[in-house]
């Protein structure tokens, strides 16, 4: 299939950037979106042009590195799918596809489609840990965890930190990410000692990074490749209310 891509090109953080149109020919419908960009980049390199920079790593949908706005939707038109797992068969021959980086003050563009998601690391550093004695690994059954709690914690833990929630949020808020991390640890017995400080510190780090506030629109959960539920934000609010009372 032959398509056209309009890609955001920005040579560096200080460059203003612009959309540039490229023709991409003979793409297999079974190619992933990133493979299509690989084909484009090979052509650009052969032509002596600068290839389009984009983040990627595992290409299995589990690392959280890839991610771009495809036709105005984070990770493209398929639900619960990362960009690397999106296949070209979901597009039509002759389509013009717009590709942009995540847009957020907290995610400055490094180059083209690559953004700096260090703000997420700072949120994790603020509270995404538990106090545990180091040494040999404890027995798996040393701390019993009820099955529903384990399932719910695991569901929250599937967040890969790709940043699609921020990119899709009309407020540029990272609340779904923070909520997933707060719930992931807060649901487990190992996460209880820091439960109150965690939610307060992580929200503080989130505000400092320059993310917007949540207004419960729900765009985040719709584009989330892992389907992190919006209810976790309510859980975060609940934890926050209790933490304010306790501390």
């Amino acid at each position: 299939m032959d398509i056209q891509v309009r890609v955001w090109r920005q040579s560096g953080p200080s460059d203003k950037g612009r959309m540039v149109t490229y023709d991409v020919k003979d793409i297999s419908p079974d190619a992933s979106f990133l493979e299509m960009l690989d084909v484009l980049n090979e052509k650009l390199i052969l032509d002596g042009d600068d290839p389009v920079a984009f983040d990627h790593d595992c290409r299995e949908g589990i690392c959280g590195m890839c991610g771009m706005m495809i036709n105005g939707v984070a990770h493209g038109p398929e639900r619960a799918t990362t960009t690397c797992q999106l296949h070209m068969r979901h597009f039509k021959d002759g389509d013009v596809i717009d590709v942009e980086p995540w847009r957020a003050a907290a995610f400055p563009v490094i180059k083209d489609l690559v953004v700096n998601r260090g703000a997420f690391d700072r949120i994790i550093q603020a509270g995404g840990y538990i106090t545990a004695p180091t040494g040999t690994a404890p027995d798996a059954h040393a701390t019993p965890v009820p099955k529903p709690d384990a399932d719910a914690a695991f569901e929250a833990a599937t967040c890969i930190g790709c940043g699609a929630c921020v990119a899709a949020c009309p407020n540029g808020s990272s609340m779904l990410f923070t909520a997933a991390k707060v719930a992931h640890l807060g649901l487990l017995p190992q996460g209880q000692p820091e439960r109150d400080t965690r939610v307060i510190d992580m929200l503080e780090a989130q505000d400092e990074a320059g993310f917007g506030g949540c207004t419960n629109m729900g765009e985040c959960t719709t584009v989330c490749p892992k389907g992190i539920p919006l209810t976790l934000i309510g859980r975060l609010n609940n934890d926050y209310r209790k933490a304010l009372r306790n501390t």
Partner: protein, 210 residues
Amino acid sequence: MAVTGLLLVVFLYAHMVGNLKVFVGAESFDHYAHWLRTIGMPLVPQDWYLWIQRFVLTAAVIGHIVAATILARRARKARPVRYVHRTRVQGSYAARTMRWGGVIILLFVIYHILDLTTGTLNPVGDRQHPYANVVADFAPDRWYVTVFYTLAILSVGFHLRHGLFSAVRTLGQRTPRGERLARAAALALSAVLVAGYLSVPFAVLTGLVD
């Protein structure tokens, strides 16, 4: 947002019940309006309760606007560069129009106070007989008042449809079942409120109340 908003919703419901007295008759409606001034007597002097309520509601409105302004400004700052191509995938009409809807409601509230509280913009403006003011307000030849009123009430309806759900979520609602319930309740409460408020002008317009 949530606490001030819920306080205002409680007032809206009380206000709606009062409005519906227009269907009982002029005497009942006017009597109700005068009774509002005597609530709490003789514990507090006449009009005191009313002024306390006005003070609390004004504080809630201001708090609500301040919080909304902070959120809107933060949202603008959080995305300094806009997307060239943006597709909405979720976000109901109600959720997307919260901010401008809120502005419409504020303008309406100012007009509404000048119209039916102070009587400044009312064709009759008789503060002793509010029933006559209401009937004069929605007379067929003042159709533009009814249009504005309808628009404002619909804005309130949309505002609450998202606002009520959002408020309980902010206060910590966190189960999928609770979310379905909260969304359904928000829709039902908004619909009842819109129907209750719109019944008055349309009853005047069709001659049911005169």
